[in-house]
Protein backbone atom coordinates (compact mmCIF):
# COMPACT_ATOMS: atom_id res chain seq x y z
CA UNK A 1 0.00 0.00 0.00
CA UNK A 2 1.33 3.46 -0.84
CA UNK A 3 2.24 5.76 2.04
CA UNK A 4 -0.16 8.30 0.58
CA UNK A 5 -3.00 5.77 0.84
CA UNK A 6 -2.01 4.76 4.35
CA UNK A 7 -2.24 8.39 5.45
CA UNK A 8 -5.62 8.78 3.72
CA UNK A 9 -6.87 5.59 5.36
CA UNK A 10 -5.76 6.59 8.85
CA UNK A 11 -7.36 10.01 8.41
CA UNK A 12 -10.56 8.41 7.15
CA UNK A 13 -10.74 6.05 10.14
CA UNK A 14 -10.25 8.95 12.54
CA UNK A 15 -12.79 11.10 10.76
CA UNK A 16 -15.38 8.28 10.89
CA UNK A 17 -14.68 7.84 14.62
CA UNK A 18 -15.05 11.56 15.28
CA UNK A 19 -18.30 11.76 13.25
CA UNK A 20 -19.73 8.77 15.15
CA UNK A 21 -18.86 10.38 18.46
CA UNK A 22 -20.38 13.65 17.25
CA UNK A 23 -23.59 11.95 16.13
CA UNK A 24 -23.87 10.12 19.44
CA UNK A 25 -23.34 13.35 21.39
CA UNK A 26 -25.90 15.14 19.19
CA UNK A 27 -28.48 12.45 19.78
CA UNK A 28 -27.93 12.55 23.52
CA UNK A 29 -28.22 16.32 23.52
CA UNK A 30 -31.53 16.07 21.64
CA UNK A 31 -32.83 13.58 24.15
CA UNK A 32 -31.73 15.76 27.05
CA UNK A 33 -33.41 18.75 25.41
CA UNK A 34 -36.71 16.82 25.01
CA UNK A 35 -36.63 15.63 28.58
CA UNK A 36 -35.67 19.05 29.82
CA UNK A 37 -38.62 20.63 27.99
CA UNK A 38 -40.89 18.02 29.55
CA UNK A 39 -39.53 18.76 32.98
CA UNK A 40 -40.24 22.47 32.53
CA UNK A 41 -43.79 21.62 31.45
CA UNK A 42 -44.17 19.02 34.16
CA UNK A 43 -43.05 21.53 36.80
CA UNK A 44 -45.85 23.81 35.60
CA UNK A 45 -48.36 20.94 35.78
CA UNK A 46 -47.13 19.95 39.21
CA UNK A 47 -47.63 23.51 40.42
CA UNK A 48 -51.16 23.42 39.01
CA UNK A 49 -51.89 20.12 40.69
CA UNK A 50 -50.61 21.52 43.98
CA UNK A 51 -52.87 24.57 43.62
CA UNK A 52 -55.80 22.26 42.85
CA UNK A 53 -55.15 20.24 45.96
CA UNK A 54 -54.94 23.44 48.07
CA UNK A 55 -58.17 24.75 46.60
CA UNK A 56 -59.75 21.34 47.17
CA UNK A 57 -58.76 21.52 50.83
CA UNK A 58 -60.20 25.05 51.14
CA UNK A 59 -63.43 23.95 49.52
CA UNK A 60 -63.86 21.11 51.92
CA UNK A 61 -62.99 23.26 54.94
CA UNK A 62 -64.99 26.37 54.09
CA UNK A 63 -67.31 25.23 51.27
CA UNK A 64 -66.07 28.19 49.35
CA UNK A 65 -67.48 28.25 45.79
CA UNK A 66 -64.60 30.37 44.68
CA UNK A 67 -62.33 27.49 45.50
CA UNK A 68 -64.41 25.20 43.31
CA UNK A 69 -64.25 27.71 40.50
CA UNK A 70 -60.52 27.95 41.01
CA UNK A 71 -60.16 24.14 40.74
CA UNK A 72 -62.20 24.13 37.54
CA UNK A 73 -60.12 26.79 35.90
CA UNK A 74 -56.91 24.96 36.93
CA UNK A 75 -58.25 21.72 35.42
CA UNK A 76 -59.14 23.47 32.18
CA UNK A 77 -55.82 25.24 32.09
CA UNK A 78 -53.94 21.98 32.70
CA UNK A 79 -56.01 20.16 30.15
CA UNK A 80 -55.31 22.90 27.57
CA UNK A 81 -51.60 22.88 28.30
CA UNK A 82 -51.46 19.12 28.05
CA UNK A 83 -53.15 19.23 24.67
CA UNK A 84 -50.76 21.94 23.48
CA UNK A 85 -47.60 20.13 24.58
CA UNK A 86 -48.95 16.69 23.86
CA UNK A 87 -46.08 15.99 21.45
CA UNK A 88 -43.41 17.07 23.85
CA UNK A 89 -44.77 14.95 26.65
CA UNK A 90 -45.38 11.92 24.43
CA UNK A 91 -41.87 12.15 23.13
CA UNK A 92 -40.43 12.33 26.64
CA UNK A 93 -42.49 9.77 28.57
CA UNK A 94 -44.47 7.91 25.90
CA UNK A 95 -48.15 7.98 24.88
CA UNK A 96 -49.18 5.54 27.59
CA UNK A 97 -48.14 7.74 30.49
CA UNK A 98 -49.61 10.77 28.77
CA UNK A 99 -52.91 8.88 28.49
CA UNK A 100 -52.75 7.79 32.14
CA UNK A 101 -52.11 11.36 33.27
CA UNK A 102 -54.98 12.65 31.12
CA UNK A 103 -57.16 9.87 32.43
CA UNK A 104 -56.41 10.83 36.05
CA UNK A 105 -57.20 14.44 35.22
CA UNK A 106 -60.56 13.52 33.67
CA UNK A 107 -61.48 11.35 36.62
CA UNK A 108 -60.62 14.25 38.96
CA UNK A 109 -62.70 16.63 36.80
CA UNK A 110 -65.68 14.28 36.92
CA UNK A 111 -65.38 13.91 40.70
CA UNK A 112 -65.33 17.67 41.11
CA UNK A 113 -68.43 17.84 38.90
CA UNK A 114 -70.28 15.27 40.96
CA UNK A 115 -69.19 16.83 44.28
CA UNK A 116 -70.33 20.29 43.24
CA UNK A 117 -73.73 18.83 42.36
CA UNK A 118 -74.18 16.75 45.51
CA UNK A 119 -73.95 19.79 47.74
CA UNK A 120 -74.56 17.95 50.93
CA UNK A 121 -71.18 17.06 51.94
CA UNK A 122 -70.56 13.50 51.12
CA UNK A 123 -67.70 12.25 53.20
CA UNK A 124 -67.31 9.24 50.95
CA UNK A 125 -67.04 11.42 47.79
CA UNK A 126 -64.61 13.70 49.59
CA UNK A 127 -62.40 10.82 50.44
CA UNK A 128 -62.46 9.55 46.81
CA UNK A 129 -61.67 12.97 45.44
CA UNK A 130 -58.71 13.28 47.77
CA UNK A 131 -57.47 9.91 46.64
CA UNK A 132 -57.76 10.76 42.96
CA UNK A 133 -56.13 14.18 43.55
CA UNK A 134 -53.33 12.55 45.44
CA UNK A 135 -52.86 9.96 42.66
CA UNK A 136 -52.79 12.69 40.01
CA UNK A 137 -50.23 14.71 41.89
CA UNK A 138 -48.04 11.73 42.78
CA UNK A 139 -48.06 10.31 39.27
CA UNK A 140 -47.07 13.67 37.81
CA UNK A 141 -44.33 14.16 40.36
CA UNK A 142 -43.07 10.62 39.85
CA UNK A 143 -42.65 10.92 36.11
CA UNK A 144 -40.97 14.29 36.59
CA UNK A 145 -38.48 12.78 39.01
CA UNK A 146 -37.97 9.80 36.73
CA UNK A 147 -37.19 12.01 33.73
CA UNK A 148 -34.91 14.13 35.87
CA UNK A 149 -32.91 11.07 36.89
CA UNK A 150 -32.84 9.94 33.24
CA UNK A 151 -31.30 13.26 32.20
CA UNK A 152 -28.73 12.70 34.86
CA UNK A 153 -27.99 9.19 33.56
CA UNK A 154 -27.71 10.36 29.94
CA UNK A 155 -25.31 13.14 30.88
CA UNK A 156 -23.12 10.76 32.88
CA UNK A 157 -23.01 8.12 30.17
CA UNK A 158 -22.35 10.78 27.51
CA UNK A 159 -19.53 12.15 29.58
CA UNK A 160 -17.98 8.68 29.97
CA UNK A 161 -18.39 7.76 26.36
CA UNK A 162 -16.91 11.09 25.21
CA UNK A 163 -13.98 10.61 27.58
CA UNK A 164 -13.18 7.13 26.20
CA UNK A 165 -13.81 8.09 22.60
CA UNK A 166 -11.32 10.95 22.85
CA UNK A 167 -8.69 8.51 24.04
CA UNK A 168 -9.65 6.03 21.34
CA UNK A 169 -9.22 8.68 18.63
CA UNK A 170 -5.91 9.78 20.13
CA UNK A 171 -4.70 6.14 20.31
CA UNK A 172 -5.76 5.42 16.77
CA UNK A 173 -4.02 8.55 15.50
CA UNK A 174 -0.84 7.68 17.40
CA UNK A 175 -0.92 4.07 16.26
CA UNK A 176 -1.39 4.95 12.62
CA UNK A 177 1.19 7.73 12.53
CA UNK A 178 3.63 5.48 14.40
CA UNK A 179 3.13 2.70 11.85
CA UNK A 180 3.60 5.07 8.92
CA UNK A 181 6.57 6.87 10.45
CA UNK A 182 8.28 3.59 11.33
CA UNK A 183 7.70 2.36 7.82
CA UNK A 184 9.19 5.54 6.33
CA UNK A 185 12.00 5.56 8.88
CA UNK A 186 13.09 2.01 8.04
CA UNK A 187 13.06 2.76 4.34
CA UNK A 188 14.94 6.03 4.81
CA UNK A 189 17.62 4.26 6.84
CA UNK A 190 18.01 1.79 3.98
CA UNK A 191 18.33 4.70 1.55
CA UNK A 192 20.92 6.40 3.77
CA UNK A 193 22.99 3.21 4.07
CA UNK A 194 22.73 2.61 0.36
CA UNK A 195 23.85 6.10 -0.63
CA UNK A 196 26.66 5.95 1.91
CA UNK A 197 27.90 2.72 0.41
CA UNK A 198 27.63 4.17 -3.09
CA UNK A 199 29.59 7.25 -2.10
CA UNK A 200 32.32 4.92 -0.87
CA UNK A 201 32.43 3.30 -4.27
CA UNK A 202 30.57 0.13 -3.35
CA UNK A 203 27.40 -0.83 -5.10
CA UNK A 204 25.45 -3.06 -2.71
CA UNK A 205 22.01 -3.34 -4.25
CA UNK A 206 19.08 -3.80 -1.89
CA UNK A 207 18.12 -7.25 -3.01
CA UNK A 208 14.68 -7.60 -1.43
CA UNK A 209 11.86 -6.64 -3.72
CA UNK A 210 11.15 -2.94 -3.14
CA UNK A 211 7.80 -2.33 -1.46
CA UNK A 212 4.97 -1.02 -3.57
CA UNK A 213 5.02 2.48 -2.05
CA UNK A 214 6.85 5.75 -2.52
CA UNK A 215 9.91 4.55 -0.53
CA UNK A 216 10.03 1.49 -2.74
CA UNK A 217 10.09 3.79 -5.75
CA UNK A 218 12.95 5.78 -4.20
CA UNK A 219 14.91 2.61 -3.47
CA UNK A 220 14.47 1.22 -6.96
CA UNK A 221 15.49 4.63 -8.37
CA UNK A 222 18.66 4.50 -6.25
CA UNK A 223 19.28 0.92 -7.31
CA UNK A 224 19.12 1.82 -10.96
CA UNK A 225 21.29 4.89 -10.29
CA UNK A 226 23.86 2.62 -8.63
CA UNK A 227 23.78 0.26 -11.62
CA UNK A 228 24.27 3.18 -13.97
CA UNK A 229 27.11 4.58 -11.82
CA UNK A 230 28.77 1.18 -11.76
CA UNK A 231 28.49 0.87 -15.52
CA UNK A 232 29.93 4.35 -16.00
CA UNK A 233 32.70 3.72 -13.53
CA UNK A 234 33.69 0.68 -15.56
CA UNK A 235 33.71 2.85 -18.67
CA UNK A 236 35.85 5.45 -16.94
CA UNK A 237 38.27 2.82 -15.65
CA UNK A 238 38.44 1.42 -19.16
CA UNK A 239 39.09 4.80 -20.74
CA UNK A 240 41.61 5.66 -18.02
CA UNK A 241 43.37 2.40 -18.78
CA UNK A 242 43.45 3.32 -22.45
CA UNK A 243 44.69 6.82 -21.61
CA UNK A 244 47.29 5.27 -19.35
CA UNK A 245 48.47 3.06 -22.24
CA UNK A 246 48.64 6.21 -24.36
CA UNK A 247 50.75 7.96 -21.73
CA UNK A 248 52.89 4.84 -21.41
CA UNK A 249 53.50 4.64 -25.15
CA UNK A 250 54.33 8.35 -25.38
CA UNK A 251 56.66 7.98 -22.41
CA UNK A 252 58.31 4.94 -23.93
CA UNK A 253 58.77 6.79 -27.23
CA UNK A 254 60.46 9.66 -25.46
CA UNK A 255 62.63 7.42 -23.32
CA UNK A 256 63.76 5.39 -26.32
CA UNK A 257 64.13 8.26 -28.77
CA UNK A 258 66.79 10.03 -26.73
CA UNK A 259 69.38 7.22 -26.66
CA UNK A 260 68.42 6.30 -30.22
CA UNK A 261 69.08 9.85 -31.31
CA UNK A 262 72.40 9.79 -29.46
CA UNK A 263 73.49 6.60 -31.24
CA UNK A 264 72.30 7.99 -34.55
CA UNK A 265 74.18 11.27 -34.08
CA UNK A 266 77.31 9.44 -32.90
CA UNK A 267 77.21 7.28 -36.03
CA UNK A 268 76.53 10.15 -38.39
CA UNK A 269 79.23 12.33 -36.92
CA UNK A 270 81.65 9.41 -36.71
CA UNK A 271 81.33 8.89 -40.45
CA UNK A 272 81.58 12.59 -41.11
CA UNK A 273 84.68 13.34 -39.06
CA UNK A 274 86.29 9.90 -39.35
CA UNK A 275 89.45 11.16 -41.10
CA UNK A 276 90.23 13.66 -38.42
CA UNK A 277 89.88 11.16 -35.55
CA UNK A 278 92.72 9.49 -33.75
CA UNK A 279 92.53 5.93 -32.45
CA UNK A 280 91.54 7.08 -28.96
CA UNK A 281 88.73 9.22 -30.36
CA UNK A 282 87.38 6.36 -32.39
CA UNK A 283 87.38 4.09 -29.36
CA UNK A 284 85.67 6.81 -27.36
CA UNK A 285 82.95 7.10 -30.03
CA UNK A 286 82.29 3.40 -29.98
CA UNK A 287 82.26 3.33 -26.17
CA UNK A 288 79.65 6.05 -26.17
CA UNK A 289 77.57 4.11 -28.67
CA UNK A 290 77.86 1.12 -26.38
CA UNK A 291 76.81 3.20 -23.35
CA UNK A 292 73.72 4.46 -25.14
CA UNK A 293 72.88 0.93 -26.23
CA UNK A 294 73.19 -0.17 -22.62
CA UNK A 295 70.87 2.65 -21.64
CA UNK A 296 68.31 1.38 -24.14
CA UNK A 297 68.75 -2.15 -22.87
CA UNK A 298 68.07 -1.06 -19.28
CA UNK A 299 64.95 0.87 -20.29
CA UNK A 300 63.60 -2.07 -22.25
CA UNK A 301 64.46 -4.50 -19.45
CA UNK A 302 62.69 -2.34 -16.86
CA UNK A 303 59.71 -1.93 -19.09
CA UNK A 304 59.41 -5.64 -19.74
CA UNK A 305 59.90 -6.37 -16.09
CA UNK A 306 57.12 -3.99 -15.10
CA UNK A 307 54.84 -4.99 -17.93
CA UNK A 308 55.20 -8.70 -17.23
CA UNK A 309 52.06 -9.82 -15.43
CA UNK A 310 53.48 -11.25 -12.25
CA UNK A 311 51.92 -14.23 -10.64
CA UNK A 312 50.63 -13.32 -7.23
CA UNK A 313 51.55 -15.55 -4.32
CA UNK A 314 48.87 -14.64 -1.87
CA UNK A 315 49.11 -15.51 1.79
CA UNK A 316 47.79 -14.29 5.10
CA UNK A 317 49.99 -11.60 6.55
CA UNK A 318 50.12 -9.23 9.47
CA UNK A 319 50.29 -5.64 8.28
CA UNK A 320 52.48 -4.50 11.16
CA UNK A 321 55.01 -7.27 10.49
CA UNK A 322 55.19 -6.29 6.82
CA UNK A 323 55.80 -2.69 7.84
CA UNK A 324 58.54 -3.75 10.26
CA UNK A 325 60.28 -5.78 7.54
CA UNK A 326 60.16 -2.79 5.18
CA UNK A 327 61.60 -0.58 7.90
CA UNK A 328 64.52 -2.96 8.27
CA UNK A 329 65.11 -2.67 4.52
CA UNK A 330 65.15 1.13 4.47
CA UNK A 331 66.79 1.69 7.87
CA UNK A 332 70.16 2.32 6.33
CA UNK A 333 68.77 4.93 3.97
CA UNK A 334 66.96 6.64 6.86
CA UNK A 335 70.15 6.82 8.91
CA UNK A 336 72.22 8.24 6.07
CA UNK A 337 69.60 10.87 5.30
CA UNK A 338 69.25 11.82 8.98
CA UNK A 339 65.56 10.99 9.04
CA UNK A 340 63.73 9.99 12.20
CA UNK A 341 61.00 7.40 12.07
CA UNK A 342 57.71 7.68 13.93
CA UNK A 343 55.60 4.54 14.04
CA UNK A 344 51.96 4.40 15.08
CA UNK A 345 50.92 0.80 14.56
CA UNK A 346 47.43 -0.16 15.66
CA UNK A 347 47.17 -3.34 17.69
CA UNK A 348 45.02 -6.37 16.91
CA UNK A 349 44.69 -5.60 13.22
CA UNK A 350 42.81 -8.21 11.20
CA UNK A 351 45.13 -10.07 8.81
CA UNK A 352 45.46 -9.10 5.19
CA UNK A 353 45.74 -11.46 2.23
CA UNK A 354 48.62 -10.31 0.07
CA UNK A 355 51.64 -11.12 -2.03
CA UNK A 356 54.02 -9.94 0.64
CA UNK A 357 56.91 -9.40 -1.73
CA UNK A 358 54.81 -7.08 -3.90
CA UNK A 359 53.41 -5.11 -0.97
CA UNK A 360 56.94 -4.74 0.42
CA UNK A 361 58.01 -3.41 -2.98
CA UNK A 362 55.22 -0.81 -2.81
CA UNK A 363 56.11 0.25 0.74
CA UNK A 364 59.83 0.44 -0.02
CA UNK A 365 59.01 2.54 -3.05
CA UNK A 366 56.89 4.94 -0.97
CA UNK A 367 59.46 5.11 1.80
CA UNK A 368 62.19 5.82 -0.75
CA UNK A 369 60.11 8.60 -2.28
CA UNK A 370 59.54 10.06 1.17
CA UNK A 371 63.23 9.91 2.00
CA UNK A 372 64.14 11.56 -1.28
CA UNK A 373 61.59 14.31 -0.64
CA UNK A 374 63.35 15.11 2.66
CA UNK A 375 66.88 15.78 1.44
CA UNK A 376 67.55 17.93 4.50
CA UNK A 377 66.44 15.33 7.00
CA UNK A 378 63.11 15.19 8.78
CA UNK A 379 60.56 12.71 10.04
CA UNK A 380 58.99 9.75 8.32
CA UNK A 381 55.67 8.74 9.84
CA UNK A 382 54.28 5.29 9.19
CA UNK A 383 50.95 4.26 10.66
CA UNK A 384 48.57 1.35 10.39
CA UNK A 385 44.94 1.22 11.37
CA UNK A 386 41.76 -0.73 10.86
CA UNK A 387 38.70 0.95 9.34
CA UNK A 388 35.69 -0.98 10.69
CA UNK A 389 33.21 0.74 8.34
CA UNK A 390 34.79 -0.79 5.26
CA UNK A 391 36.68 -3.69 6.87
CA UNK A 392 39.90 -2.36 5.42
CA UNK A 393 43.42 -1.82 6.66
CA UNK A 394 45.06 1.53 6.05
CA UNK A 395 48.80 2.05 5.88
CA UNK A 396 49.82 5.68 6.01
CA UNK A 397 53.23 6.92 4.91
CA UNK A 398 53.79 10.59 5.52
CA UNK A 399 56.85 12.76 5.01
CA UNK A 400 57.67 16.34 5.93
CA UNK A 401 59.35 16.93 2.63
CA UNK A 402 59.03 19.31 -0.30
CA UNK A 403 55.50 18.32 -1.21
CA UNK A 404 54.07 17.86 -4.68
CA UNK A 405 52.63 20.76 -6.67
CA UNK A 406 48.85 20.39 -7.21
CA UNK A 407 49.29 20.33 -11.00
CA UNK A 408 51.58 17.31 -10.68
CA UNK A 409 49.48 15.46 -8.15
CA UNK A 410 47.11 14.11 -10.80
CA UNK A 411 49.99 12.65 -12.75
CA UNK A 412 52.17 11.01 -10.14
CA UNK A 413 50.69 7.58 -10.92
CA UNK A 414 51.25 8.01 -14.67
CA UNK A 415 54.00 5.87 -16.16
CA UNK A 416 57.28 7.76 -16.78
CA UNK A 417 56.07 10.73 -14.79
CA UNK A 418 58.78 11.88 -12.41
CA UNK A 419 59.62 15.00 -10.46
CA UNK A 420 63.08 13.67 -9.71
CA UNK A 421 64.68 14.35 -13.07
CA UNK A 422 67.25 11.79 -14.18
CA UNK A 423 67.27 9.98 -10.84
CA UNK A 424 63.72 8.72 -11.31
CA UNK A 425 62.30 6.28 -13.82
CA UNK A 426 58.77 7.53 -13.37
CA UNK A 427 57.63 3.95 -13.00
CA UNK A 428 57.69 3.40 -9.23
CA UNK A 429 54.29 4.83 -8.30
CA UNK A 430 52.73 3.56 -11.49
CA UNK A 431 53.80 0.03 -10.64
CA UNK A 432 52.81 0.49 -6.97
CA UNK A 433 49.37 1.60 -8.03
CA UNK A 434 48.99 -1.46 -10.23
CA UNK A 435 50.04 -3.77 -7.40
CA UNK A 436 47.63 -2.24 -4.91
CA UNK A 437 44.77 -2.30 -7.43
CA UNK A 438 45.52 -6.00 -8.05
CA UNK A 439 45.07 -6.49 -4.31
CA UNK A 440 41.64 -4.82 -4.51
CA UNK A 441 43.07 -1.90 -2.62
CA UNK A 442 43.55 1.78 -3.29
CA UNK A 443 46.13 4.53 -2.89
CA UNK A 444 45.18 8.07 -1.90
CA UNK A 445 47.56 10.96 -1.77
CA UNK A 446 47.47 14.42 -0.27
CA UNK A 447 50.27 16.91 -0.49
CA UNK A 448 51.10 20.48 0.35
CA UNK A 449 54.12 22.31 -0.99
CA UNK A 450 56.66 22.86 1.78
CA UNK A 451 54.68 20.81 4.33
CA UNK A 452 54.83 17.27 3.03
CA UNK A 453 53.10 14.42 1.32
CA UNK A 454 50.92 11.65 2.73
CA UNK A 455 50.17 8.41 0.96
CA UNK A 456 47.40 6.20 2.31
CA UNK A 457 47.27 2.63 1.07
CA UNK A 458 44.02 0.75 1.66
CA UNK A 459 43.90 -3.04 1.57
CA UNK A 460 40.88 -5.26 2.24
CA UNK A 461 41.14 -7.26 5.45
CA UNK A 462 40.69 -11.03 5.54
CA UNK A 463 37.38 -10.32 7.22
CA UNK A 464 36.22 -8.45 4.14
CA UNK A 465 37.66 -10.88 1.59
CA UNK A 466 36.03 -13.84 3.36
CA UNK A 467 38.28 -16.26 1.48
CA UNK A 468 41.65 -15.94 3.10
CA UNK A 469 43.32 -19.30 2.85
CA UNK A 470 46.95 -19.60 1.90
CA UNK A 471 47.86 -20.68 -1.62
CA UNK A 472 49.39 -23.88 -0.31
CA UNK A 473 46.31 -24.84 1.59
Amino acid sequence: MKIEHKIYLSNAVNIVLIVLIGLFALQNLNEILTKFRFIVIAEGLNANFLEMRLAEKNYFLYGDDNALYNIRSRINQTSDTMLQVRNDITRAVGAEKYATLLDHLHTYDQMIDSISKSRPRDAEAQKKLREVGQKLKTFSEDITALESSRIDAIIISSRNILFYSIWTVVLFALLFSNLIVRNIGQSLRKVVNLTRAISKGNYPKIKEKPSNDEMGAVISAINSMAEELQRREKEIVQSKRLASIGVLVAGVAHELNNPLNNISMLAQTYAEVYDGLGKEDRISFMERVDEETERLRVIIHNLLDYAKPKEQHLARADTNQVVQKVLALVKNMLDISNIKIKLTLAENLPDIYIDEHQIQQVLVNMATNAIQAMDRGGELRIGTRYVPDTDEIEIEIADKGKGIAPEFLDHIFDPFFTTKGDSGTGLGLWVSYGIIKNHQGNIRVTSQIGIGTTFIITLPSCKKLKRCTDDEA
Binding site: A250, N257, S264, T269, V273, G276, R288
Partner: protein, 122 residues
Amino acid sequence: MTKHSIMFIDDEKIVGDMAKLSFEQDGYEVETFLDGESALARLQQKRFDVVVTDMKMKGIDGLEVLRTVKKLYPGIKVIMITAFANLDVAIEALRDDVHDFFPKPVKIKELKASVKRALGEG
Protein backbone atom coordinates in the same frame (compact mmCIF):
# COMPACT_ATOMS: atom_id res chain seq x y z
CA MET B 1 83.89 36.83 -43.65
CA THR B 2 82.92 36.22 -40.00
CA LYS B 3 81.77 32.79 -38.96
CA HIS B 4 78.09 32.17 -38.26
CA SER B 5 77.51 31.21 -34.68
CA ILE B 6 75.12 28.46 -33.57
CA MET B 7 73.94 27.67 -30.06
CA PHE B 8 72.91 24.09 -29.20
CA ILE B 9 70.82 23.40 -26.09
CA ASP B 10 70.13 19.78 -25.10
CA ASP B 11 70.30 17.97 -21.77
CA GLU B 12 71.68 14.96 -23.64
CA LYS B 13 75.41 15.75 -23.70
CA ILE B 14 76.07 13.67 -26.83
CA VAL B 15 73.78 15.89 -28.92
CA GLY B 16 75.85 18.96 -28.15
CA ASP B 17 79.15 17.14 -28.54
CA MET B 18 78.28 15.67 -31.93
CA ALA B 19 76.69 18.87 -33.20
CA LYS B 20 79.83 20.78 -32.19
CA LEU B 21 82.14 18.34 -34.01
CA SER B 22 79.98 18.22 -37.10
CA PHE B 23 79.10 21.90 -37.41
CA GLU B 24 82.57 23.18 -36.57
CA GLN B 25 83.90 21.02 -39.38
CA ASP B 26 81.57 22.97 -41.70
CA GLY B 27 83.05 26.23 -40.47
CA TYR B 28 80.44 27.30 -37.90
CA GLU B 29 81.20 28.64 -34.49
CA VAL B 30 79.37 26.39 -31.99
CA GLU B 31 78.59 26.67 -28.30
CA THR B 32 76.65 23.97 -26.44
CA PHE B 33 74.53 24.13 -23.27
CA LEU B 34 72.88 21.44 -21.16
CA ASP B 35 69.98 23.59 -19.93
CA GLY B 36 67.87 26.59 -20.84
CA GLU B 37 69.01 28.81 -17.98
CA SER B 38 72.71 28.88 -18.85
CA ALA B 39 71.89 29.24 -22.56
CA LEU B 40 69.66 32.29 -22.00
CA ALA B 41 72.33 33.80 -19.72
CA ARG B 42 74.91 33.35 -22.47
CA LEU B 43 72.61 35.04 -25.02
CA GLN B 44 72.82 38.24 -22.98
CA GLN B 45 76.57 38.32 -23.60
CA LYS B 46 76.86 37.02 -27.14
CA ARG B 47 74.75 37.31 -30.25
CA PHE B 48 74.10 33.96 -32.02
CA ASP B 49 72.65 33.53 -35.50
CA VAL B 50 70.78 30.29 -34.85
CA VAL B 51 69.62 28.55 -31.68
CA VAL B 52 68.94 24.80 -31.86
CA THR B 53 67.14 23.64 -28.74
CA ASP B 54 65.75 20.43 -27.34
CA MET B 55 62.12 20.55 -26.35
CA LYS B 56 61.84 18.70 -23.06
CA MET B 57 64.35 19.85 -20.47
CA LYS B 58 64.28 20.33 -16.75
CA GLY B 59 63.69 23.93 -15.71
CA ILE B 60 63.38 26.23 -18.69
CA ASP B 61 62.19 24.00 -21.53
CA GLY B 62 62.52 24.41 -25.31
CA LEU B 63 59.25 26.28 -25.75
CA GLU B 64 60.24 28.80 -23.13
CA VAL B 65 63.65 29.27 -24.77
CA LEU B 66 61.86 29.83 -28.09
CA ARG B 67 59.50 32.43 -26.61
CA THR B 68 62.25 34.29 -24.77
CA VAL B 69 64.50 34.39 -27.81
CA LYS B 70 61.69 35.56 -30.07
CA LYS B 71 60.79 38.28 -27.58
CA LEU B 72 64.28 39.57 -26.80
CA TYR B 73 66.15 38.78 -30.00
CA PRO B 74 63.57 38.49 -32.81
CA GLY B 75 66.31 38.18 -35.44
CA ILE B 76 67.63 34.88 -34.12
CA LYS B 77 66.21 31.78 -35.83
CA VAL B 78 65.20 28.93 -33.53
CA ILE B 79 65.18 25.25 -34.53
CA MET B 80 63.46 22.77 -32.24
CA ILE B 81 64.41 19.14 -31.65
CA THR B 82 62.33 16.74 -29.62
CA ALA B 83 62.24 13.10 -28.63
CA PHE B 84 58.60 13.61 -27.72
CA ALA B 85 56.82 13.08 -31.01
CA ASN B 86 53.73 15.09 -30.22
CA LEU B 87 51.92 17.10 -32.85
CA ASP B 88 50.39 19.49 -30.29
CA VAL B 89 53.82 20.62 -29.17
CA ALA B 90 54.93 21.14 -32.77
CA ILE B 91 51.85 23.25 -33.45
CA GLU B 92 52.49 25.32 -30.34
CA ALA B 93 56.09 25.88 -31.45
CA LEU B 94 54.90 26.90 -34.94
CA ARG B 95 52.62 29.53 -33.40
CA ASP B 96 55.65 30.93 -31.64
CA ASP B 97 57.43 31.32 -34.95
CA VAL B 98 59.82 28.38 -34.78
CA HIS B 99 62.04 28.16 -37.89
CA ASP B 100 62.04 24.37 -38.08
CA PHE B 101 61.07 21.32 -36.08
CA PHE B 102 62.89 17.93 -35.98
CA PRO B 103 61.84 14.79 -34.22
CA LYS B 104 64.58 12.64 -32.75
CA PRO B 105 66.49 10.72 -34.09
CA VAL B 106 67.77 13.67 -36.12
CA LYS B 107 69.47 13.46 -39.51
CA ILE B 108 72.41 15.82 -39.21
CA LYS B 109 72.35 16.58 -42.94
CA GLU B 110 68.75 17.74 -42.73
CA LEU B 111 69.57 19.80 -39.67
CA LYS B 112 72.45 21.45 -41.53
CA ALA B 113 70.22 22.23 -44.51
CA SER B 114 67.73 23.82 -42.18
CA VAL B 115 70.44 25.92 -40.53
CA LYS B 116 71.55 27.11 -43.95
CA ARG B 117 68.03 28.12 -44.86
CA ALA B 118 67.76 29.92 -41.53
CA LEU B 119 70.90 31.89 -42.44
CA GLY B 120 69.49 32.70 -45.86
CA GLU B 121 72.00 30.57 -47.64
CA GLY B 122 69.75 27.66 -48.66
